[in-house]
Each structure stands twice: as C-alpha cells, then as structure tokens.
C-alpha cells in the first residue's frame, strides 16, 4: 500500500491507497494536484529509505509521499 501523508495541526493525516487500483490511484492523484495547487510541497521516499526527493508530478510508485505546507520565515 502507498501512503500520502499530509502535515497538519493533528500531526498528520494519512491516506493509503493501492497502486494497482486505478480508481484509488485517480483519487490519490487528484489529492496530489489539489494539495500542490494550494502551495504544499510534495516529497517522496521509498519505504525504509531515508532519502527523500521533492516531486512535482504525481508518482503512484512512491511508497510514501509527504505534503508540507508552504514555508514561511519565523
């Protein structure tokens, strides 16, 4: 199962989907587009790996994709 993790005030919200299920992938892609459209940055990593890569396009093969809200100076 692939996971989309969205950072928020509760820690995070997780959305799991099966990469072989076309309908689930379409929903996940729509979520990706919506969040990045709002200014979230998406970063993906393989399961168990520690290196993450920022992605601009939806990658259904990524095991975990994290969505970071827009950054601001503190």
């Amino acid at each position: 199962m692939s996971k989309q993790i969205v950072m928020d005030h509760t820690g995070d919200s997780r959305h799991a989907f099966d990469a072989n299920d076309q309908a689930a992938v379409a929903i996940a892609e729509k979520r990706f587009e919506e969040l990045t459209g709002k200014g979230f940055t998406a970063a993906a990593k393989k399961a168990g790996a520690s290196e993450s890569t920022v992605i601009r396009k939806f990658d259904p093969t990524a095991e975990e994709t994290i969505f970071i809200p827009r950054l601001q100076g503190g």
Binding site: I5, M7, D8, H9, T10, G11, D12, G39, T41, A43, K45, S50, E51, S52, T53, V54, I66, I68, P69, R70, L71, Q72, G73, G74
Partner: protein, 343 residues
C-alpha cells in the same frame, strides 16, 4: 493570565540558566493587586516583585466597554512589558557582573598596565551605559515604588496607594519613559539577548495536543536517516547537509529559531528560522525543515529569517565590547523612536 506569567517566568529563568547566570536572586512576581477607583472609571494595578519593588499603572475601563477580552489583553500586555523590564534589569546586572569578573581575571594575569587601564575605562563606560539604559526608569505609563520591608498587606496597600496619590501619577511625577521591547537597537546586546532568549524559550515549545506531538515525532523518526535518528534520540537535535551548498545545519527540537548553521569546525555561525504555515507540531516542523534543506536549500533560506551571533553567545565577549563601543548609538536612534532602518 497566570499561565502566561508562569511561562514568562520560566522563559526568563531558562535564559539565565543558558548563560549560567544567577537564578536565585532573580526577581519573581509575588502578587498582583488591583482595585477599582471610587469614581469607577479606572482600575489600579500594582505588581509586587520579590526584590521589593512594585510597579503600578492605571487602566481606564471606559476604553474597553463592551470588550472584556480587550481589557484582559491590555492587562496581559502591560504585565508582559513589566516582566520584560524586570528581567532586563536583572539580566543586565548579571551580565555586568560577568564582564567585571572577566576583566578582573584579565587584570590578574596581564602585566601590560596600559591595556589594563584601557579595559578598565571601557568597563566603567560600559557599566554606566548599561545602568543608564537598562536600569533606570519604569516602562511608560507605570510608576515604580520601593516597598522594601513592607510585608503587611494592609500597610502595603495603604502605602502604595497613598504613594500613588502623592505622586498624582504621571501628571506631577512623570516616569522616565523607556522604549518598549519592540524598539531594539541591534548594538544593544542586553536587550537583544533578553529578547532573543525569550523568543527562543517561548517559541521552542511545541503546539497541539500531546497525541499530535507524539504523532509528529513518530513521523519525524520514520523519515530521519539512521545516524540522524540516533543523534536526535540522544541529543534532541540532528545534523542535515545542505543539498545545494554542502553546509551543515543542526536542527534542534523546536518550531522556531531552531536551525543552526555550523562551520567546518562545528561552531555555530548563525541561526535560521523558517517553518511550515499552520500550527504543525514540532516533529512536523523539524521534518519539513530537514526536507527543505536537503532538497531546496536556497529557496528555503530565501524565505527564512537569519539571526546573527550576538556577543553574549560568543566566547570572545571582551573583543565584542570594542566593536560595540565604536557604534554611535545616538546616530541611529532616539529613546521612544523606532530606529530608521534606512539610515
């Protein structure tokens, strides 16, 4: 309100602890008195500290008719200013004591009498400057009263309010107005240190429920590399390599002002501050900072605020005196007037 005051008190003691300054003699708030004046339009507030100094101020209730939250916010704001001032005084005292000790150590180990005299003069000038800037005058709109030796509540009340009547508040005896903490001259290291330390203490805390904090920390640990995870579990901080510059950054547990840029020797160069929008808990913030530095360092730092090394954080404080003394304070700001950033 008491919660906010306790937090301020904790933050202040944290700063003192950070610099190994004396916490025992640090004043703390003993009691806040307030009563409504007979004509019913104003409230008098008196805050008494353990160093036998009290500060009094009045609030006109008519300014807040129909808006009790604003009234509460005003009282909190005045108290915060008062706390800042009392902390600042104590910090300045401790700092000067520390600088005097450094001078005495230097004088005891050096034979160069000219250098000793030069440093003594510089120290005396600095003490006078700190005394005049940081240890004189109450915050604006407040009156300072010495209440040493008054422990009986009734005597105390009678004395304080009689004293206020005698002074007829600001009309006949205006206090020396000190600029609020919002006006900070960059060369003023006492105020910068207090402000910086307070910000660090207040903002390094976490937000959200305990469950949210645990959840965020779990996510962080899942995304850290094994060495980073090991370092974080041991030290509550981890090192990240900048993806574009190759520089090393240390991310400390916290949400703000928690990214230290390190030089090749591992010494702090400066502090960076950026975080994701919204009230994400510290674990999420640290993870966002790690991903940003590793993947789009320059873009992230372009949005960040940079905080330079201040003299009190430096091991070479004595050398910094000289630099500070060369700054002509009068040229770039006046009391009560915000410095002009373009001058």
């Amino acid at each position: 309100m008491h919660c906010a005051l306790r937090a301020a008190d904790r933050a202040f003691r944290g700063i003192l602890d950070r610099y190994a300054y004396d916490q025992i003699s640090a004043p703390s708030l003993r009691r806040i008195y307030h009563h409504r004046l007979p004509h019913g339009r104003e409230w008098e507030f008196v805050a008494k500290f353990t160093d036998d100094r009290s500060h009094a101020w009045r609030i006109d209730y008519r300014d807040f008719l129909g808006a009790p939250p604003l009234f509460k916010a005003n009282v909190e704001s005045e108290l915060t200013r008062l706390f800042s001032r009392v902390f600042e005084d104590h910090f300045a005292t401790q700092m000067m004591a520390s600088e005097r000790r450094m001078f005495e150590e230097f004088a005891a180990t050096t034979l160069d009498q000219n250098e000793i005299n030069r440093r003594r003069t510089a120290l005396l000038e600095r003490e006078e400057e700190v005394r005049s800037v940081h240890q004189t005058g109450a915050p604006s709109h407040m009156v300072e009263i010495s209440t040493a030796g008054m422990n009986n509540r009734r005597d105390y009340d009678r004395f304080v309010f009689a004293e206020l009547d005698r002074q007829n508040w600001l009309a006949t005896n205006p206090p020396i107005i000190r600029p609020g903490m919002e006006y900070v001259n960059e060369s003023d290291d006492v105020r910068m240190s207090v402000l910086y330390g307070m910000q660090m203490a207040w903002h390094s805390g976490d937000v959200g429920s305990k469950e949210a904090q645990k959840r965020a920390e779990k996510l962080l640990l899942e995304w850290l590399s094994p060495p980073q995870r090991h370092q974080y579990l041991k030290e509550k901080s981890f090192d990240v390599c900048g993806g574009e510059s190759g520089k090393t950054y240390r991310i400390r547990h916290g949400r703000q002002m928690n990214i230290d840029e390190l030089d090749k020797a591992g010494k702090k160069v400066c502090t960076w501050c950026f975080l994701p929008e919204g009230q994400c808990p510290a674990g999420d913030v640290m993870l966002a900072q790690k991903i940003a530095i590793e993947n789009f360092e320059n873009k992230a730092l372009a949005t960040a605020n940079r905080f330079g090394e201040r003299s009190v954080f430096s091991e070479r404080r004595a050398a910094t005196w000289e630099r500070m003394r060369s700054v002509d304070d009068a040229s770039d700001w006046q009391w009560g007037v915000a410095p002009n950033p373009t001058s």
